[in-house]
Amino acid sequence: MKRLLINITILVLLAGTFSACKRQLEENYLNPELTTTGSLSKLFTGMFINKRIHPSYWDYYTFIMPTTAAYTQMTALAPLTQMYVPSLDYTGGRWTDYYNGSLGTDYNYSGPGILNSYREMQTSYNALTPAQQQLQEVFLKVAEVVVYDQTSQMVDLWGDIPFFNASSLNTDRIVEPAPFDDAKTIYDTLITNLKALNTYFATVTLDPSISSELTAADPIYRGDLSKWQRYANSLRLRLLMRISNTDEGTAQAAVTEMLADPATYPLISDNSLNAALWMSNPTLRSDMRDALGGSPFAPSFLLDTLMLANDDPRTEVYWDQHAENGWKSFPYNGTNAEYDALGFATYDSATFFYNYNVPGVLFTAAEASFLKAEAFERWGLGAAQTEYENGINQSIDFYYGIYHNRVPREDAKAWPTLADPTAEEINNYLARPAIAYTGTTTQKLAKIYTQKWEHFFILQAGQAWAEYRRTGYPALQFATSSYSGGQRPPVRLLYPPIETLYNPNYSAVQARDTRDTRIFWDPS
């Protein structure tokens, strides 16, 4: 009897210990530093911390300068045998940042991915009650604009990419390699959906609590949906013009509808409406000194032929003279010895090198104006010259705006203050034969394209490269590399091994994965 009692006591104790253990085991499963509750607004905010959206050292140093800026001559290249063969590690980094990003708080190297943040938003959205879904839908909508912008940039670089079924880990929590989707289909979908977004932004009314949550979460427009509407429409205009050389009918019809009804389809028509992420020193800041330091010199076509020859008012804000050699640029076919001897004009110290507040540029008024100018010119929809000159004025204003908003690095010197160009100077510039909106349609279009190219500069070198491939302007000359199979810049990037090694669907696009396969919108 006594033994039985003892045994029962032991059993009860054991049972108690087991259930306590069970609870403790469950508690210890989750990392206390992480949360399992996804928030739509916080995932949306994360997209802006993506290091390809805001200017980061890594993006400039490993991707923009050696690839998009180099292939559009926004920077001068010292001749190297493999200068036209982009590093697959670096392009792979660009690829990965769109999908995954990387964890960490050194924003020169880390930041969330675009697509997996968006897919997690969708997953979190699906877990909400219908009432909550209706309230929070707006976060998905603004996120879509960002996703579509970034997705089109991926298509511009690579062509077909996994998109519609990508990010299975974020949706179904399983590994399911995604097929490569047809580039044109992706573009068409974006164009269709952006139109729907225009309607959504025009009609939606937000609950006040959601409205203030969006204001806090949105670093570019502070929750102003009318601006998001303009961004969505401007992006749609960009995409339509992009396809206009290979699918002119579709583009012309849609663009005509848009431009004919600016009240329904408002665009980014003023620099105050720009989609741009300004920095906030010291937590989020552009680190351009080191990023541009590897390739700092002014290329000759942009500096000499386009800017100096025409007294471009932007010259001083783009470039610094060399202390002894003045406005000396580096020729497209310069040699290593010349490069190593140094002594060239460089990017402007105050505006770029020593400025913590270079914005991440998504869409500017100048681009919208140039796109309109092109459409007006080609399809006779309006006064192309006005839009062309608007674009130039907005560009000048934009770059001087960066100069005025600059936040100097600690080691910045007290450079002489740069005066804003006067109206007279701008008018003189607009009257220059090479600038003035004169000549044949081809010549006029070339001027629009060239001005837009100059406006994109290093801040939107990816757009510059896409438009250079679409339009063929400006007519740049490139040094020929001795490297067999890489003598000229490519017309698209090769898929990075980080994708192709692990995605069995690669075999479907492998045959087209060459540096000479043109993107579907590239006519020539």
Partner: protein
């Protein structure tokens, strides 16, 4: 639930059982050795029970036993005897036993068992083998000493981690390191428990937890290899278990003092074979087309018309050394001659000094041992050193006949200054490539200016202009390395306490209780001090950081052992217990950002930017109940069954518990069957076991990180999903099932022993961070990706070929062969692929049916007849859409060969170890071929070495004309055809060939980065002289021994070329062990030791 009920039932049964009381009688006796001297501390045990005692200082014992009891008398080093307790007092003489047959070894859960009773293979290593060669840690003393145990010590010296891998690879992605159990308590091996491998952090070579176990305190070590041997450790046992027992005091010896001192010099053992004929420079085409120099001889013209080599070149295709006077980049004028073997000047001569003092005593009331060890170590790497203080106490207190308490306590303090940094930035990056003309002394002088700032580049116009580097040079990474390690410091100071208390209670004669608690606590402080690189007025630089890491592991177990007497032929022991372990981890780090405002003032308050603070914490709980049943039939058949029911917090709650059973049997054939006369002993073993490997804590979580950053007046709060290593809430534990057979035989009066094992295992549910394409949502995801199988043979042959009065020679040879195969993939994974050389130029890939570690590179483009196709420039090209197989990374056979030869008071111990099969991938070597640094690249560089003569028609476009009387003699025509199918006649220069054929990606032939890795290494030698006892006695020593020692001496044979070291790789993962990423040179140690006991 069913299983927890089962465990409870077992425990209940154990509680309910009580031994029926029996009549007892007293038996006493004396145990003597062959010469009639009393033996102290001999175990006297009643057969079939755990009831027993030890002999006292006169060799006497007294014991209460059952009337017809048999006594088992056992003592290490003597043959076991069984004596009927018929008469009293007994007079027992034990014969010495060199066979080790009756050795008592410590098995899982700290349970001692006789070797003969084991049903599985186990390797034991003695204290002498661990300490005699002065190894700074016990694990790197194990090279070649245990069959099936592969040791890989990372280069860099005493602070570098040692990987131990038992029986091949059990886990593709999980840990491959065994569980270490010291005096019954599992100890921490990884610094960060949320990771499962070690390698390098911030390019500095990691240590691991085993480095803190002082070799001098180890009494013995058992390595449990198979699943059955280790099944009681369940999910931590898939990679084997290393069971360490520390030294105790002994009653037999009384008060004893041991003093040991070891000193070795540490030197660079071997280095790469560099050419010493050509200075820095590129090939003609690169020089001229890139506008580097117009001169076809490669000299660069200074503004004053004088000539200099191209110091900026990373390749070594410049002008031949001819002794002319040139200006060096430090401004001095020098003769243009090679600084032969200049890489050797980079390294230091280091040392290792170990002093150990131990005090021990014992009596019937208990015993203790106290030991202190001081180690000072200076690495061969510039700026790296460390010291350790280690205190260890091990005591046993016998409270009464039935209760005893063991206390083990160790405290270890380590200070590590500038943990050795890998040289990947020097050897695997073109920006570290120094030339044979470079003077290492100048680098060591120039890395810092006289004002304490960083070296001044040629294009730096800012400070210390008179100390400026004159020209654009290449090896800035080498200067950075010196700056980092000689000027800056990264210090770690670590306190580690390992304590345990064990209570043994004999509740009844046949029922014993043991309870144990142990704590392993580590506190590590890290300090980073990076000096200002330039005057603060020119921009802030430098950094100060302070961090800490705390690891706590709390362990407890309790068990009951019940040994009822069944029949005379059959005895049984039943054991039941519970065990639990809680691991906690806390990390925090704060550092300055954007530089230091006041130069070289190391304080967080001096930060130019906002202080960056990070922290992490983690907690893991594992609990288990277990039971063991041992049966012994007439001392020739031993059967053991074990079961462990376990739950862990690292798995999702729904699937976090598992049952791990095992069974094994030992059958002593020679006791049953009449053996031939030359055969003394034969035993068969068979076992089956199931063990697990669960994920590292938190890996399975699917969760978001949340960050907040100040933005304008407010802040942005954002969430981020994982970008890699995506979690999985449906994850299951890896399960390893292993079956093992073994044969143990002894011949020729125990002078030849052979022990063979065969095992076959299958590891299912391989937990893997499978590399996935980014478009899947992350670059890797945690999945149960498939199944892996291993089988292998292990063998050990021990022999004493010579055994005479004055001379003995004993020799031990062991080998282990392991083969593995990936059986299947699941969960959306079709292969296991590692992109070793980014860009996919060299990958390691296994598909279902392949072994792990198959290496592939792109093949050359060939026509359908198998001719290489050359491009317009005359070089071969890659077919980047295909891969060709280059071999496998894993070794086929590893083992060792140890010998002891003694002559009177002299003895020589030496150990060789070997590895055959498998490849080493060395990308740095590949780039050094392409840069013409290696001696092998002299081929074709002149007529005497096969170069053909030609004239340069157009240098920029590589138009060369073959001409027997041409001006250049380093031409080549690559055998092959043009794209049109014509025979190639294009002349290229040899430098151009190396430069292009082994270039970075592009058309680089990465098959040149894969080498056969076979070697036989002379690992250690110890030459000892033991002072004759009569002299020692006069000097009042119990023993005195002098030794000369050498470790990591040389390779008797190695297959890797170019002077590359076969053991260059860093890291505990099986894959990283086959890949050289540019680590540090290997260390050789030579020195002496003295061991004295009083």
């Amino acid at each position: 639930m069913q299983r927890s009920f089962l465990v409870c039932t077992i425990l209940l049964l154990l509680c309910a059982f009580t031994a029926s009381a029996q009549e007892k009688k007293s038996v006493s006796g004396t145990v003597l050795d062959e010469k009639g001297s009393p033996l102290i501390g001999v175990s006297v045990q009643e057969k079939g029970t755990t009831h027993g005692t030890l002999t006292n200082a006169e060799g006497k014992f007294e014991l209460q036993v059952a009337p017809n009891a048999t006594l088992i008398i056992s003592y290490i080093g003597y043959q076991r005897q069984e004596v009927p307790a018929a008469s009293s007092p007994l007079n027992i003489r034990l014969a010495t036993d060199a066979t080790g047959l009756n050795e008592v070894v410590v098995t899982a859960m700290g349970i001692k068992r006789e070797t003969r009773a084991l049903g599985y293979a186990m390797s034991t290593v003695s204290s002498k083998e661990i300490t005699q060669a002065g190894s700074p840690n016990f694990a790197s003393a194990l090279y070649g000493k245990a069959a099936g145990v592969k040791i890989v010590t990372a280069p860099g010296g005493a602070s570098s981690g040692v990987s131990v891998q038992v029986r091949g690879v059990s886990s593709i992605n999980g840990t491959t390191q065994p569980l270490y159990v010291v005096d019954g308590v599992p100890i921490r091996n990884f610094n960060d428990p949320t990771t499962n491998s070690f390698g390098a952090t911030n390019n500095r070579i990691d240590g691991n937890g085993v480095l803190d176990i002082n070799p001098e305190d180890i009494e013995s070590m058992s390595i449990l290899k198979g699943a059955s041997a280790s099944a009681l450790y369940g999910s931590e046992a898939a990679n084997g278990v290393v069971v360490i027992t520390t030294k105790k005091g002994s009653a037999s010896r009384g008060l004893g003092v041991d003093v040991n001192y070891t000193y070795t010099l540490e030197q660079l053992a071997n280095g790469m074979e560099y050419q010493n004929e050509f200075g820095p420079g590129y090939d003609i085409v690169t020089n001229v087309s890139g506008g580097i120099t117009d001169r076809l001889d490669g000299w660069v013209t200074n503004p004053d018309g004088s000539l200099r080599p191209n110091y900026r070149a990373y390749a070594m295709f410049g002008p031949k050394f001819d002794g002319r006077e040139v200006t060096y980049w430090d401004g001095s004028t020098r003769q243009y001659l090679a600084q032969k073997d200049n890489y050797k000047d980079f390294y230091n001569t280091g040392f290792n000094s170990i002093l150990n003092v131990a005090l021990s005593n014992g009596s019937e009331k208990g015993n203790y041992r106290f030991s202190y060890t001081r180690m000072d170590y200076k690495s061969i790497l510039p700026g790296s050193n460390l010291f350790k203080n280690n205190f260890n106490f091990n005591g046993t207190l016998k409270l009464n006949d039935r209760v005893s308490l063991d206390l083990v306590s160790s405290y270890n303090y380590n200070f590590t200054h500038n943990r050795p940094e890998q040289l990947s930035n020097v050897f695997a990056s073109f920006d570290g490539f120094f030339s044979p003309f470079d003077d290492m002394g100048v680098f060591k002088n120039k890395y810092m200016t006289s004002n304490g700032y960083k070296y001044v580049r040629f294009d730096n116009m800012q400070y210390d202009q008179d100390e400026k580097i004159l020209y654009s040079i290449r090896p800035y990474n080498l200067l950075d390395y010196l700056w980092n390690n000689l000027r800056n410091s990264y210090d770690e100071s670590q306190h580690r306490f390992i304590n345990s208390a064990t209570l043994n209670v004999s509740l009844l004669d046949n029922l014993r209780f043991r309870g144990r608690v142990g704590v392993d606590y580590t506190s590590l402080d890290m300090t980073t001090e990076q000096h200002n690189e330039r005057p603060a007025a020119l921009g802030y630089s430098g950094k100060y950081g302070v961090g800490s890491r705390k690891n706590t592991s709390l362990y407890g177990d309790a068990l009951l052992v019940y040994s009822p007497k069944l029949t005379n032929d059959l005895s049984l022991t039943a054991t039941g217990g519970v065990t639990g372990r809680r691991q906690r981890y806390a990390y925090q780090n704060s550092e300055t950002t954007n530089g230091l405002v006041n130069e070289n003032w190391f304080s967080l308050g001096n930060s130019a930017g906002i202080i960056n603070a990070t922290s992490a914490r983690a907690e893991q709980l594992d609990v288990a109940g277990f039971g063991i049943l041992n049966l012994n039939y007439r001392d020739f058949l031993y059967i053991e069954g074990t079961g462990r029911y376990e739950a862990t917090s690292t798995l999702p709650p729904a699937v976090n518990n598992y049952f791990y059973p095992s069974v094994n049997a030992g059958f002593i054939l020679s006791e049953v069957v009449k053996m031939p006369s030359f055969m003394d002993y034969a035993k068969l073993r068979a076992s089956y076991g199931l063990v697990g490997n669960h994920p590292t804590m938190y890996q399975a979580n699917v969760a978001y990180t949340q960050y907040q950053i100040a933005y304008n007046e407010g802040s942005l709060i954002y969430q981020q999903p994982r970008h890699d290593q995506f979690g999985n809430n449906d994850l299951k534990s890896e399960k390893k099932r292993e079956i093992e057979f073994g044969l143990e035989t002894r011949f020729l009066k125990n002078r030849l022993n052979v022990d063979l094992s065969y095992y076959n295992n299958k590891v299912t549910n391989q937990i893997m961070f499978a590399s996935t394409s980014p478009s899947t949502g992350a670059t890797s995801g945690l999945v149960n990706a498939g199944d892996l199988a291993n089988y292998g043979f292990e063998g050990a042959i021990t022999a004493r070929p010579i055994q005479s009065r004055n001379v003995t020679w004993s020799t031990r040879f062991n080998f282990a062969m392991n083969r593995n195969k990936v059986l299947a993939f699941r969960a959306g994974i079709s292969s296991y692929t590692e992109n070793v050389e980014g860009g996919g130029y060299l990958i390691v890939r296994s598909e279902a049916g392949d072994p792990l570690g198959n290496i592939y590179v792109h093949p050359r483009n060939m026509d359908d007849k198998g001719n290489y196709i050359v491009n317009d420039a005359g070089y071969y090209t890659n077919n980047t859409s295909e891969y060709k197989y280059m071999g496998n990374i894993l070794p086929k056979i590893v083992g060792g060969f140890s010998n002891t030869v003694s002559y009177k008071n002299f003895s020589v111990d030496f150990t060789l170890d070997y590895r055959f099969g498998g490849k080493l991938v060395s990308i740095p070597t590949y780039y050094q071929i392409g840069a013409g640094k290696l001696e092998s690249t002299l081929q074709y560089r002149d007529a005497a070495r096969g170069g053909i003569s030609y004239d340069v028609i157009d240098a920029a476009n590589g138009n060369f004309q073959a001409n027997p009387n041409g001006a250049f003699h380093d031409g080549m025509i690559l055998p092959g055809v043009t794209e049109n199918g014509e025979v190639n006649t294009k002349v290229v220069s040899a430098p151009g060939y190396y430069f292009n054929n082994f270039e970075w990606r592009g058309n680089g032939d990465y098959s040149a980065a894969v080498f056969d890795n076979n070697y036989i290494k002379f690992r250690e030698i110890v030459l000892s002289y033991r002072m004759p006892q009569r002299i020692a006695d006069k000097l009042h020593f119990q023993g005195l021994q002098f030794s000369l020692i050498g470790r990591n001496l040389f390779y008797i044979y190695k297959s890797v070329p170019h002077g590359l070291d076969p053991e260059v790789a860093v890291g505990s993962r099986w894959l990283s062990q086959g890949i050289d990423n540019g680590t540090v040179g290997p260390t050789r140690s030579l020195g002496a030791s003295i061991r004295a006991s009083f």
